[in-house]
Amino acid sequence: MVDIVATAAEAVAGIGDGATVMVGGFGAAGQPVELIDALIEGGARELTIVNNNAGNGDLGLAALIREGRVRKVICSFPRQSDSWHFDEKYRAGEIELELVPQGNLAERIRAAGAGIGAFFTPTGFGTMLAEGKEVREIDGRQQVLEYALRADVALVKAHVADEAGNITYRKTARNFGPIMAAAAATTVIQVNEVVPIGGIDPENVVTPGIYVDRVVRVTPREGAER
């Protein structure tokens, strides 16, 4: 059952050193900045972070990396014009990188939530990102075996929650939220609004409450929502 908690600090309580944490978002869209801030405040170290990127600018995931809390990043696209904190730690040998094609990243996360141990996909065949991996021909195409990717905790930004933990997202900020929510042992979601049970049409629920452990309403930052 879902706990609706009052503060981001309560929402991230118990995330310990060495945890694997999935962080929703694609760049800034859907990034749970306030939960990450609370995670920094909470002091956890040696984290493995699963995200599409490795931090942009100085906020959120970038700040977590800057503070030296991240041992390893599993992502598809670390290097960007504003990934300076990751770049610095990576070049200094202070952070490990597992680079995963974006579709494999999404599918591996989905597999973890869906009880699929591993799957064959054409993506990556013949490239350095498939080196050492099992390959077989299926349906006339060479396919690479990829394994499910799960986490201890998922931190997700969504739009509306009802008091049963049912969740909706907003536009392309949906991105990794629904699959990460299903792939983590504990799922923590920050939302813009909490409504009573019955406040979301059952046809339009994107993440059912079964996947959600804690919800916290976060007041949108100035300029972060319209």
Binding site: F77, L99, P122, K171
Partner: protein
């Protein structure tokens, strides 16, 4: 055959790609140069744009009050929503791509091989931080993968090559290559030259270390 007009610029390449996209296609335009193809799609093209961060029916770049931080494209640029759009999560979005449902994907490239191998994600230089994003999925996922690139590097080295020397993105995936000097189709029978821009077939043959078939009269 003699030289045929002038080399085309990036704008011309984008127009050439746009002209070859069939009416009603579902299309993904890669980050950077390929994005400009959308400027050349006619209003009645019936083309629906996919962005791999979870949307079909993507509209043009957003400006001013239209900007919404929750509505961005794969290049993380604010965009708009067209009527008939839909949103979905990342696994569904890549399933759409990887399941072969997109008609055309347009990508940039460092190199394309005569067999259609693509290298567009990593220079392989020591010290470079690699980043792959959706490149490997896009290259394989669409029914047709088109590449847009200048035919030569700044140093004058051909980018259409017998074998890629850069790390591969995917094997045997590219169907057409749009460049400033020529347009190529990579077919089971070999590399066909479909159009020439300010160069002759003979000059192009001399420039490239790849066997070429003249299909300009096609």
């Amino acid at each position: 055959m003699t030289a045929n007009g002038q080399p085309i610029d990036k704008n011309g390449m984008a127009a050439a790609v746009a002209a070859d996209i069939p009416h009603g296609s579902f299309v993904n335009l890669g980050i950077g140069l390929p994005t400009t193809v959308s400027n050349h799609l006619a209003a009645d093209s019936g083309v629906t744009l996919h962005t791999e961060n979870g949307m079909l029916g993507m509209g043009p770049e957003a400006h001013g009050d239209e900007v919404d931080p929750d509505l961005i494209n794969a290049g993380k640029i604010p965009v708009t929503e067209l009527p008939g759009a839909s949103y979905f999560h990342h696994a569904d979005s890549f399933a759409m791509m990887r399941g072969g449902h997109l008609d055309v994907c347009v990508l940039g490239a460092y190199q394309v091989s005569a067999a259609g191998d693509l290298a567009n994600w990593h220079t392989g230089k020591p010290g470079a931080i690699p980043a792959v994003g959706g490149a490997m999925d896009l290259a394989l996922g669409a029914k047709e993968t088109y590449v847009m690139m200048t035919l030569l590097t700044r140093d004058g080295a051909p980018k259409l090559v017998p074998e890629c020397s850069f790390p591969l993105t995917a094997v045997q995936c590219v169907k057409r290559v749009y460049t400033d000097l020529a347009t190529f189709a990579i077919t089971p029978g070999g590399v066909e030259v479909r159009a020439l821009h300010g160069t002759s077939f003979a000059d192009l043959k001399a420039l490239l270390d790849v066997p070429l078939l003249d299909a300009t009269a096609r």
